[in-house]
Subunit: 268 residues, 4 copies
């Protein structure tokens, strides 16, 4: 351990003659513990992120230095930093400088939790969501940060409700929103989640007692939405959030009458 | 290509001194095209199987000969054989002989399709299911073959229906049945699938027109079942099939009011 | 079955007032048996495809008609058609017309098999690959078809080989190539696969005897490549194929010295 | 919120007449933040667990009360408890009492991290592993707790090394050990991980500099092992740990010369 390190040939640093720049090269599937800011009330939640880090490689360079990507996460972890959008932008800038690159991208996804109170009983439990954050660094431009959430909700079919004498088919759906943030945006993860949940036939909770279950059932029936309605209503809701430059919205209904999904996608 | 093969040391065949027999050793994740018998009307359907093949290794032997497992599937493929339960039993016997083993197991899973007619319009489309077949070969016993199907269905919650003024939450569910077959059983894949579908709140179809959707919605509402009801009713239905020695039944409801599943399992 | 169909309200056809066109709406995760042309010698191979089909929806229209997507695949299946690039283009055109849409996309992925002969023993076995095909239909343009293959190969690290007294770390890698085809291109799936395999440290086979294993081991050692080398060499190889307009190449090394991957991506 | 709860019918509590007890019924795929003890030096590491909780249901009872499973995790989370084996046993006992059941099981899996120092440079980085813990509660018996780790390692093929003039194929492997713990066992997660890593051709690190990469390459070449050697050596190593009653060991090599895995399993 800790033996003196003898000089070794730097194969990656040698010259490449194929004349092909590489858009991105780096590591993928690298897991690290992280700290996340979910809301003002929950500014430092622990989670586990799975990272992809990569940089552009010019045509003349044979290879990049993979260990530096890991060193970057290790340093952030040691410092105990919270991965807010501004810290993510910094991480992107640090990476392109450390790797001596002109451009680069970092993306991670991680589970986040929100404490929710059941709609009638008021009982508390946690709901889990999937968060992603992305930073893209291009030459002569500020790092561009996007926030993405995957929010599970309930959808109830307006057609089934209209044509049936009683009942209506409903199912779990997943809404994915990727929002490009303005520089300095203070949009929180929770605000983005709520902009989705409020537009569903009904939102979900981890724990429901019978009076809550009655509420969810009737609320969804009163609030039927196609997958097309979901993406449109969420698009309007997300576009109205402060600090959102643009957004891509996708919804997938795990249809309860088929073995396939209905889905839709739009950009605003 | 086809150069003369020079003798090489057989490392796998050397003697092991750790005195530890190995329960199973072999290959996993090996994909091959296969032929399947789904029903008497559809006795030779093409699909793609993902196989696991393994044998017992005695304490004194260092390693098994992995290439022989692949050779076994290649020979079956070349012959164009249909993987019925009796052929699966034969494949198990052939494997333990070819590998000079006392015991062994083969398992594969593959998608299968059934042409179904929508309940009102009568329109035809295909439904996909996941089929598995397993053979276990033990010393001094006939090969034991099990058939497994994973059947997607609709479940509608009796509690939600009972307590709500209107509507009821429902969702896609998956029922898994693994049936140990009697030697010589002529049970078909389709019979096992139907023994599940008939017990659900409602079965699924690939294509439904509006009158069909009305039927499915009302049929499920008239036929509310907990996940506990599903496994019990399917257990009774499967146990009554000819040629079934025993069965394990599992149902999972992808709850439309939560971000987790309700599930149950029983053996008969 | 086949009861007379009573008129029902067409909720999907009603007018939408949110003034938001939808980029794509349709079905996802729909599995159907398909026929594929892998090479001139293997023009009609059966497989199982998982499809996504979607169309653009104008701002004034509330919803699309989901059952028509399934009807499209059912008709193709009944006709027994082989899903060559030209048939895929036709399927795209048929879809936008049937759905009365201005634009749309179809994508499927499916396993395909190629019979390969081991490099020394010459023994035959099948190798499995993942194929995708995509068609994008935009107004006033011919359908654009892309062919994608995921090819598993072996990569051996040049740095590890250079700095070590003996041995070199190597691992399984996956190379993904998505090639945009010229209209009328007769490029085959096998040609695209071979353009990848010939550029790896060594290609893979399903079955190898000892002399083959010696060949693979030494061939990879003689032919060390970084993940950067892989994407560059494959890019040159794919770009030289007739009928390829452009291509995206991605390679991922499932590093044997880490619990994460090295990867690279470039476009030509 | 917090409205008065009106009495509602208890459908789950009604009497069932099918005369079929259910082995296990409960929830699955429920995610909650957890605290884990990884080693004496790291007794309180945060992670995210995915839980399955279930109980036996007697023949006369129609359904279980699903919300109580969630309440159990919520209470544990609120208390900030560390999920050590003894706490897991307690959780099992609490669950069967809360659900008024005779038997039940809890299982979770979660990522855990260990700080490791590269073998030559001594540089620190984190390695991720997958941990599972299981408790089974049966009537008139103490809760039985098992600890499972999935440990990624490097394996190098003895046959390839022996028959080749230079080089040897190697790859990432995953070793899974499930150890049944004696009541009161103080075995740590890290001890179980180390009992695997020390038996591999070489262990893995998150970050390696060139001198470390040379070490790993040569160490693996000096220490060739079949998948059969891996399970045997790990079995001996795990069986010698204090507090282990029995263990199941499984190893899977993601072969770098094939597109399938070699694997083996044994119980001690």
């Amino acid at each position: 351990m800790n033996a003196p390190i003898t000089p070794m040939p730097d194969v990656q640093g040698s010259v490449d003659v194929r004349n092909l720049p590489i858009d991105r090269v780096g590591v993928r599937g690298l897991r690290y513990p992280i700290r996340l800011a979910v809301s003002q009330a929950d500014p430092n939640q622990g989670s586990v992120g799975e990272f992809s880090l990569s940089v552009a490689l010019p045509a003349h360079q044979k290879g990049t230095h993979m260990s530096r990507f890991v060193a970057l996460l290790e340093a952030m972890h040691e410092a105990g930093d919270v991965l807010e959008p501004s810290r993510m932008a910094q991480l992107g800038s640090d990476m392109v400088r450390l790797l001596e690159a002109s451009a680069g991208s970092i993306e991670f996804h991680a589970p986040v939790f929100v404490k929710k109170h059941a709609p009638v009983s008021g009982l508390a439990s946690l709901m889990d969501y999937e968060l992603s954050m992305v930073v893209d660094c291009e030459p002569s431009a500020a790092p561009a940060v996007s926030l993405e959430v995957k929010v599970p909700v309930k959808s109830l079919c307006p057609c089934s409700k209209e044509i049936s004498d009683y009942g209506a088919h409903n199912q779990r759906s997943q809404v994915r929103v990727r929002a490009r943030l303005a520089s300095g945006s203070s949009l929180t993860v929770l605000e983005l989640i709520r902009a989705v949940e409020t537009q569903a036939s009904c939102e979900l909770w981890g724990m429901l007692k019978r009076p809550d279950e009655k509420y969810v059932t009737e609320r969804a029936y009163d609030n039927a939405k196609f997958v097309e309605d979901l993406v449109r209503d969420v698009a309007l809701s997300v576009k109205a959030l402060p600090g959102v430059v643009s957004a891509e919205i996708e919804a997938e209904n795990f249809e309860s009458i088929h073995n396939h999904s209905a889905w839709a996608r739009l950009s605003v």
